[in-house]
Amino acid sequence: MTQELLMSSTETRGRPGVRRYAMVIDVRRCIGCMACQVACKAEYDVPLGVFRTWVPYRVTGKYPTVKKQFLPRLCNHCDDPPCVRACPVEATYKLEDGGFVLQHYDRCIGCKACMASCPYNARFMLPEHRTYTDITKVVDKCTFCYHRVIQGLVPACVQTCVGRSRIFGDINDPNSEVSQLVARHATQVLRPEQGTKPHVFYIGADRSLTDYGRAVYHKDEQADIERAAFNRNKHI
């Protein structure tokens, strides 16, 4: 994307001199193994009931012509993130170099305005109990593995991705793999109409997977039984 398309001062894609990290998720390669989801849990001691990344699926078609497809999800590290706008105390902020959208845990008051403002359900409230980390009862989300990336490592979910479906890198660097993938493939982002400028790009995600609201048309009753249990028993 070029400079002319930048619409707000917060955007760093295409801005010279700064890095702008992005993830490309090639849905054709995602086998729904959930390795990413669990690796992320381990990396951050993420408690039960909440997820920094998750991999929902859809079954489409009629017997015997049926497909099952997965759509890995996480924070989009939006270039124009509504969550940052919504936070009254700047506990959630965007890092200029890298474009990470991050949290100051010790500042967060827990008003959940950022949760309400994220179109992607990427944020959650940390429950009171965790295994060994004492950051609790504040809002959390995927950090694009900031602590790993700044030390030259790919994010944990990318590291373990069995299908090599997740690719990570600096999209401001035209030679990076993410830049090349985005340049060479048709990519999709989630809910582009929201103007958030997501920096998680999908390859091969058709609208039956990405459409907002479609899941409700095809409500999976089994999930609804579970959802009821979740709503009944969660302690968050």
Partner: protein, 285 residues
């Protein structure tokens, strides 16, 4: 199918709806008390409405703080180093606190019977009071991706809801004054009518919106939420009281009392269903 069940919670559960309800009434009551400095028919409401407003403000403030997961850090909102003016919540916090301060000063002037300062504070306080439903409305409006919430109507609707619910409460505080009663009746009719009109246009834009809005409309008009929104909020809590107030019975004490109770039930139901309605669909995404 029997696997990968990841669910999302709603950001703002029912405590927020109660807060909206309480704070809306508080602000309207202050406004009525303030009006008493300028209009005789509101005079009987001055003290009663103010006290009620103040108690509700305290309750609302506590609710708001209590709902934070880190209530101890509430003061962060006042920390100039942290303040983010892009956030309606930041404005809201300032608004709420300055309103509280003005209300305290107003209280002293009211007790002193200081016409000049009382009037000044009444005006300042009213503006701040008006700010409360407006900011709560904005709090929802700014979420561009949420059907129902993301409409310029929302702040106005919240002002309307504030006035109609406030009037309903105030109608119990008139100490039997004919003039005040009829003022409150008019207030309920006008603001109730306005709320009704806004709800109809809201339903229209939601029903004929995009896929998200359309599904939200389905949620809002069916099942339990439909019962709350349409049944309690629109019919029992808006349409019925208006009809009742227009009818001869509405000019009598019982009629007005009934209408007021219905309006309050409706006011709560509307805030709850609008708050929920805007969030349900996304929990499936």
């Amino acid at each position: 199918m029997n696997e990968y069940t990841v669910f999302h919670t709603m950001a703002w559960p029912s405590a927020y709806a109660i807060y909206f309800f309480v704070i809306g009434i508080s602000s309207a009551l202050f406004f009525f008390s303030a009006l008493s400095w300028f209009r005789e028919d509101y005079r009987p409401l001055r003290e009663n409405a103010f006290y009620a407003s103040f108690v509700l403000l305290a309750v609302g403030g506590l609710l708001l703080i209590g709902d934070l997961s880190q209530p101890g850090r509430f003061l962060n909102i006042l920390n100039p180093a942290y303040l983010n003016f892009q956030s309606p919540l930041a404005w809201g916090g300032l608004n709420l606190i300055s309103f509280g301060l003005v209300a305290v000063l107003y209280f002293f002037m009211m007790r002193k019977g200081d016409e000049v300062n009382g009037k000044r504070l009444a005006i300042i306080g009213s503006l701040l009071a008006l700010g409360l439903p407006i900011y709560t409305g904005f709090d929802l409006t700014v979420h561009q991706h949420r059907p129902v919430w993301n409409t310029p109507l929302m702040p106005v609707l919240f002002v309307g809801l504030s006035l109609v619910s406030g009037a309903a409460v105030a109608s119990f505080l008139t100490k039997g004054s004919e003039a005040a009663n009829s003022a409150m009746r008019r207030m309920m009719l006008w603001s109730g009518g306005a709320v009704g009109a806004m709800l109809i246009s809201l339903l229209g834009t939601t029903a004929y919106g995009g896929v998200g809005a359309e599904l939200t409309f389905m949620f809002l008009t069916s099942g339990t939420l439909g019962l709350i929104f349409i049944g309690l909020g629109i019919i029992a809590g808006t349409a019925v009281p208006i009809v009742l107030l227009l009818a001869p019975l509405g000019r009598q004490q019982v009629g007005m009392m009934t209408a007021s109770v219905l309006i309050l039930v409706g006011g709560m139901a509307l805030r709850y269903s609008i708050l929920y309605g805007g969030q349900i669909l996304q929990t499936y995404y």
